[in-house]
Symmetry: C2
């Protein structure tokens, strides 16, 4: 055990974990299965294989195998941008005057700008292994689309991205990164799919939505020979791949004798929190340790703190399977927010079940408070954080300030999922005092809950 | 000596060099002194101290002291983003099928996006030490302004940035990063200075220029009590601070037994090449080693390959001291290019003298060839490079392909100075086939040389 902790902990390359961890293997209460929206019956592997790659379906449905060997080719790619650093935020500690020890795992040091690449490369790999020609996906803010473009370029796969039209227009830089990596980027809704044409006929001026882009990507993948659909969050397979984050964090902690008390991650669909926290929650499930794990969500889209634990559609278009999860209702339209990556009505079934079983807590925060934390963090720690990630920063600072009051020397680790280089329009809104907050009323949510599908 | 070379070499924190290297101490032919433009006499320290901080003037004029201890507070800040990785570009080697070993030192992993932070934090530190209230500077593409904003925020100094108007409009993101770090950003020319008002009266529709922004920043610094001017390139002091790049590279090479044959850097004002190559050139000057060092400049602004070695103004406005350097003439207006950081008419006097004495060679490359290399690199190595840095990539690839022909296993190291996240407009021009090349004619250059000042 090294005793002197550097500011940035970089593990050696051969310390990168070589297996992913499947938390479902340790869960007593497994997440409920996906249901076929037409029949209400659990989705069968053969059905899912029409949408996703075969091996990914296996991972999706496997509640038992605890460890998955990471294929060599994926490990080789991981070395291009991993291990990611675990940073000891001494500058922040000093600025806050807190006795708490604050660390953050930084996943933003790659061109996709976030942790999304961890699953993108895995999904592209399995598509390649299956002999596919290409994949289709959707992207909102653009990180997932960028990550999948990079991964597909690496394996020589065609990559077709349906990008929510308003993002396509407002974030031309993200679009251009994808094109630089060889992806075809189509603003959604588009005339290239039936569902797109239908929506455009009905709403010619629509700016698009993630739900619509998902529907187009799924349709596009099914109408082309040798294509499958891939998704960057919510799914079990995604959480599995993302556990590389938490496992690396554990390895670094062990190496330097860091004993975390509090683990914090932002939560949209759940991909980063699930990947970061799952290995720690696994220890809790096995009775080996106890941590305070906190999910942080936007007050404008509070699926855990104010949602219902129920079966719901994963997409607005109601063509994807139903999942049992904390949800605001698939027809709930989150207000425009500067953390596009957290604007999802539901929460991945695994985290939903764990939350239901009391394994972690959740907090919702207002975006102006989030940006105040983001700017404070940027100024003292140097790194400009993504708005999504800054939700975790907000609560990390709040917890550190509590320690200042109580004098407790708690160790806090949060996941800094991405950088904010493409979010400067949002920073401008904040810097110029033009950012507002939105919190849905109970009536609004009740209206949305009333539209939840009836199951069984 | 470690024998297994990882993909990314991260030195340990305590391996970060604690001294800067002053190459002038090893030069037999020292660079010529700066001249007072009014008198034609060498600038005196007292005169320079009206413009720059005292300690920086000492560093500027000192041709003898080989090593400078890096102050503790600067070392502390360096640990926030250094050591920067030396990456073994195995993916690129594989894609090229070359027997050459290619490495790059990556300076883009910080919020300023480039190596500029290495000198910004030093300059801010000395301003703070001198008890100043703040500093003024100019910025073109924005990296230097961002770096200085970050550094001033860290030391609690006011930071006033004059940003070339066309950049201010075209690069709102860069502007916003600076504001996030607390800087005042003014589009130049502005009504806040005499020179700005004069220029606006004469050319109301001007988009500004670096020369004009420099003049405004200098005037602003001189008209405010407790302010000085700071500059991100060309000066001896900047090269001194930037040697942290080359020294870290040497440490990494030594640790892993890497013996470079070819060292490559892009060259605008010379700050990165000077910092990266100087420690290696120092070995050559002392007769300890021999390297092939290559400066790469844009064909549109070829100061080394087609310029004159003569005294010239450092700025278009002719208010700064004269420097003996390779220059295209201070009145030469480089064509609009996508590598704004290399659009400077001259070359730092130290590199100019070393080039004149045959210590390194220079090549000029066309921007479409540069972007072809940038996209190729991004796709195989993951990192999206800045257009400036991609000049070095172009020549590194060319040299590696030569090795493929000859079968030579040369070791090539280039400096990847920054990321291209804010250059996606330029990538779009390239991706859509809308990028052109410009090479000045001999007549144009002759016209510009005719305006060089007569000295002595």
């Amino acid at each position: 055990m090294d005793t002197k902790i550097p500011y940035k902990i970089y593990l050696a390359e051969d310390e990168i974990p070589t297996q992913w961890y499947n938390v479902r293997a340790d869960m007593k209460n497994k997440p409920e299965p996906l249901l076929n929206p037409a029949t209400g019956e659990p989705m069968k592997a053969e059905e899912l294989e029409q949408i996703f790659c075969k091996e990914l379906v296996k991972q999706e449905m496997d509640d038992d195998q605890r460890w998955y060997d990471i294929p060599e080719e994926i490990l080789k790619f991981y070395k291009m941008y991993r291990p990611s650093p675990l940073v000891h935020a001494t500058f922040l500690e000093e600025a806050l005057g807190t006795p708490a020890h604050i660390y953050y795992k930084y996943e933003g040091n790659n061109t996709s700008g976030s942790h999304k690449l961890n699953s993108a490369i895995a999904q592209a790999y399995y598509a390649k292994e299956q002999g596919l020609k290409g994949v289709c996906t959707e992207t909102g803010a653009g990180q997932w689309g960028t990550a999948l473009s990079m991964a597909c370029q690496y394996f020589g796969l065609d990559c077709q991205v349906y990008m929510v039209k308003c993002s396509y227009v407002q974030k031309p830089f993200r679009r251009e990164v994808m094109r630089t990596y060889g992806a075809k980027v189509t603003p959604s809704p588009s005339m290239t799919t039936e569902v797109g044409r239908r929506i455009l006929a009905e709403f010619p001026d629509t700016n698009g939505s993630l739900g619509c882009a998902i529907s187009e990507a799924v349709e596009a993948s099914r109408s082309q020979e040798g294509y499958r659909y891939e998704l960057g969050s919510v799914l079990n397979q995604v959480l599995l791949h993302q556990t590389i984050i938490g496992l690396e964090t554990q390895t670094a902690c062990k190496k330097y004798g860091i004993k975390p008390d509090i683990l914090i991650g932002c939560a949209g669909g759940g991909s980063n929190l699930g990947g970061f926290a799952a290995p720690f929650i696994g220890e809790m499930l096995r009775g080996e340790a106890d941590y305070k794990v906190i999910a942080v969500e936007p007050a404008s889209c509070p699926s855990l703190t104010r949602g219902k634990f129920a079966y719901d559609y994963c997409d607005t278009g109601k063509i994807c399977p139903l999942a049992k999860m904390y949800t605001l209702g698939s027809q709930y339209i989150p207000s425009a927010s500067h953390a596009g990556g957290l604007r999802y009505h539901g929460m991945t079934p695994v985290l939903s079940q764990l939350y239901h079983d009391g394994l972690f807590e959740a907090r919702s925060v207002k975006q102006t408070d989030v940006f105040a934390a983001a700017v404070q963090f940027a100024r003292v720690e140097g790194t400009l954080p993504a708005p999504e990630s800054s939700h975790a920063i907000r609560v990390a600072i709040d917890e550190a300030l509590k320690c200042k009051e109580t004098g407790e020397e708690k160790t806090i680790i949060f996941n800094l999922t991405g950088n904010g280089y493409f979010d400067l329009y949002s920073y401008e809104r904040f810097n110029t005092g033009n950012m507002s907050d939105y919190i849905p009323t109970d009536e609004e949510l009740e209206k949305s809950f009333a539209l939840l599908p009836e199951v069984k």
